[in-house]
Amino acid sequence: MNLYQSLRFLILNNMSLTTEIKTDVVILFAGDSGDGIQLTGSQFTTTAALYGNDISTFPNFPAEIRAPQGTIAGVSGFQLHFGSIEIFTAGDACDVLVVMNAAALKANMKQLKAGGIIIANTDGFDPKNLKLAKYPDGINPLKDGSLEKFKVYEIDITKITRTALADSGLGTKEMDRSKNMFVLGYIYWMYNRSLDKSIEFLKEQFKKRPELIDANIKVLKAGFNYGDTVEAPMHRFEVKPAPVSKGTYRSIMGNQALALGLIAAAEKSGLPLFYGTYPITPASDILHELSKHKNFGVKTFQAEDEIAAITSAIGASFGGSLGITASSGPGIALKGEAIGLALMLELPLVIVNVQRGGPSTGLPTKTEQADLLQALYGRNGESPVPVIAAYNPSDCFYGAFEACRLALEFMTPVFLLTDGYIANGAEPWKFPSAADLPELKVSFAKNNLKEGEAFLPYKRNEKLARPWAIPGTKGLEHRIGGIEKENETGNISYDPDNHELMVKLRQEKVDNIANYIPLQVIDNGKEKGKLLVLGWGSTYGSIKTAIKEAIEEGYDVSHAHVKYLNPFPKNLGDILKSFDKVLIPEINNGQLIKVIRDKFFVDAKGLNKIQGMPFTSQELKNKIVEMLK
């Protein structure tokens, strides 16, 4: 605390209610999946971001859209971490837990820090809800002293909401739908935030039903005023803006960023974007976002299945569009054969995998990084495909753009891996201007053939990419296919030597991409030392936080985060060999580690968590400390 903060703290502490200054706070909103939890969370996110806090969020919802009300299975959560310091994760444990019912408390109790605040909607703790949450008969956690180590604020949110809306003319059911606005208003009071942005949002959201605008604003204000007027001692906190770098920001979610990155690549390449997809959690939001932007010429195609999703995109690429498909693990498995076709055809194609817990249907709404080996190896035959991974929500934009660049420049399918955590997570983004983005040069093959000269669809350029000769180009009529082809002519060939040559050429083309991607950098820490933590994908924030703390505490540890997983940056081997020990944390049973050991003979150690949840930075830090003992 600086002097100003200390003074303010003292002054405020002498007032009837206490205002405490915090560097960062984690709030977890939890309730029934129909309680509007996600909306409450995202509204607070926007307001906090606009105020200048750094922020990171993590929505956590059940697989069922409307799981049985009041049950543990039906609990939806939204965790947000905001602060006056740089924030890299949604937080290990929460300071404030808002629970709309008993099940929400039961499901999230262990997430709350000792001394943390519980805001409980007492109406959700009636005998029926307690029973649904499977508390033993006669036991109410709000009454039995089991929450002693926390500060518990009991509020009958349902009753207050109904009272506030008594003369609104709305039915009870509709009134109850505004409960989340009470919570939002109250939290705004707690952190002394303006209601303006949310009021603006409500006006837009319900523009067709003005009576709901009034009702929701009324309840939002009721929540705020409740904090101001209630006589019980309540805490108020102050979280100042974060010292983030100067610039203009917006809030962005991973899937949204990814969609924008694809459109940006289409604009920068001058190609129409075709997105073939089949709905699947957690990738569908990319489709929803893209389908809004038809005025960019974006064509979205909701295909009959995952196979048609990718093959339609291949058809579009053949015709000269930027063909994209996306899915999650199970859908990617179905696309496998077609990915092989795309790499035989050597057409540009981006395949996005928003990973979720597997195998099979697995954990649809939970996060995991277990499809790396699928992306690298999950096809028949020798079938190399470049693979890149985004590491946070805003990086999904750059990842999408880069995947398109590689696909177009090297005439190849390219995998882009993200996961449920960053796809649904949000953060402030200092967005680029269109002019900052590089042009993606695409030139379709032209007919420069001399009389009698045949067009060679598989004649390669210096990057080993073949020409993209699209239908409509007179004189370049040609046939391509999934059968092995003769070098250069593309005609069917079963010749043994030719097959070996083609396999090697396709491999060389992908390996050669290493010459056209940035070198690996050390994200934090020294270039040489005792321990390197090598991460990839969505573990970035947790690792970043853990390393920052460890370095501050004097540990000799560095962090590198691999974005290019095939091919690896050329200097990755050298970096690995500059450290005594290498730790590879992954949300899987050890996948990158297999590849690293295979490629570089490095005796890396793994830290693996397979719980459908991101690492906490504490888990990582403990491992770092243990390895440096």
């Binding site: 926007t46 200048g52 803006p241 983030v244 770098s245 100067k246 610039g247 203009t248 920001y249 917006r250 962005i252 924008l260 459109i263 940006a264 604009e267 075709f274 932007h293 038809k294 005025n295 960019f296 010429g297 974006v298 064509k299 195609f301 295909a303 009959e304 299945d305 196979i307 048609a308 093959t311 339609s312 995109a313 291949i314 058809g315 579009a316 053949f318 015709g319 000269g320 569009s321 063909g323 054969e337 077609a338 092989g340 076709l341 055809l345 967005f431 680029p432 201007s433 269109a434 239908p471 409509g472 180009t473 007179k474 009529e477 040609h478 046939r479 391509i480 296919g481 999934g482 005609n491």
Partner: protein, 339 residues
């Protein structure tokens, strides 16, 4: 633009690739008829794309001097959908077989038909798997003895065109490899239809299923067992065109023209979906007593919007109402703050 249009000939559609179907395969005739018809369509070669899946028939694109893709099993329909959605200017032809279209690619076929992309589907039906050397197919009759069914198949076969009508196909037709004139005529009709033109072509696999359709294709039996339908004409067939089809309510019956006036016969109307549904159900095994003759020709044709037209109209409409997208505005979004 070129001023003088170069007149193409069938030879212009022949590639330098050696055709590798078995000698005597019905595919040769189909290839020949397609190459013959192409110049008459008035479409520049570079605007034509042949897309196929896997199977004997799917080698077809390699023999057509146009743009072509020999893809993977069952997916030609889906690939063509993406191509046509983005390149409505192209003339897209899908070449497929009974296994490719109805078994492994069955799902894509029905969705192609309901979306009604303006493409042509040439489904070579030989009632057998040829490329994999002789297993029964989804159109093989019950009891078919094949490599995988030594004591006969117990699969009830598809009636392919009934399936297609069920999927709201806007153009349903049948022809055969052994009737070049008819096949060329129907190919032209398929090309002329705006929407998905579904053309089933009976094709003899002389190696694994020889004679599967001979009763319909051979001189001695053809006239008695086939019914060549023409729009606006009565349904007449028989050795001396002496038999006809009369509708008794919804039940088609064979009548002798000596007993019934031609005016009382079923007059073929390509626009009549109810009657088309009855017509495609003329699917009896010819040797059965009271078997109805197998019809050939265009059974059904309707005008319905094509997917790609509506897709493009939405884009045009969005650009007109919102203006062409501005990348900076998109990236920026609605809410920003400056630090």
């Amino acid at each position: 633009m070129e001023t003088a249009e170069i007149k193409l000939t069938p030879k212009d559609f022949v590639t330098d690739q050696e055709v590798r179907w078995c000698p005597g395969c019905g595919d040769y005739s189909i290839l020949k008829q397609v190459q013959t018809v192409m110049p008459e369509l008035g479409i520049p070669r570079e605007q034509i794309v042949f897309v196929s899946g896997i199977g004997c028939s799917s080698r077809f694109p390699y023999y057509m001097e146009t743009f072509g893709m020999h893809s993977i099993h069952g997916r030609a329909t889906a690939i063509a959908s993406g191509l046509k959605a983005t390149r409505p200017d192209l003339s897209v032809w899908i070449v497929t077989g009974d296994g490719d279209a109805l078994s492994i690619g069955g799902n894509h076929l029905i969705h192609l038909l309901r979306r009604n992309f303006n493409v042509n589907v040439l489904m070579f039906n030989n009632e057998i798997y040829g490329l994999t050397k002789g297993q029964y197919s989804p159109t093989s009759p019950v009891g078919k003895v094949a490599k995988s069914t030594p004591v006969g198949s117990v699969d009830h076969p598809f009636n392919p065109l009934a399936l297609c009508l069920g999927a709201d196909s806007t153009f349903v037709a049948r022809s055969m490899d052994r009737d070049p004139i008819h096949l060329r005529e129907i190919l032209k009709r398929a090309n002329g239809h705006k929407g998905t033109s579904m053309l089933e072509i009976y094709q003899n696999c002389n190696v694994f299923n020889d004679g599967a359709f001979e009763v319909f294709t051979e001189k001695g039996t053809k006239k008695l067992n086939t019914l060549m339908v023409e729009n606006g004409k009565p349904l007449v067939f028989g050795e001396n065109a002496d038999k006809g089809i009369k509708l008794d309510g919804f039940k088609p019956t064979v009548v002798n023209l000596s007993d019934v006036s031609a005016n009382d016969l079923w007059i073929h109307d390509e626009k009549d979906q109810v009657k088309a549904n009855i017509l495609v159900r003329f699917f009896d095994i010819p040797s059965n007593e009271h078997a109805l003759p197998r019809p050939f020709g265009v059974f059904y044709q309707e005008e319905r919007f094509c997917y790609e037209d509506e897709l493009n109209a939405q884009i045009t409409e969005a650009i007109e109402s919102k203006g062409k997208g501005n990348l900076d505005d998109l990236i920026k979004g609605k809410n920003t703050w400056t630090i």
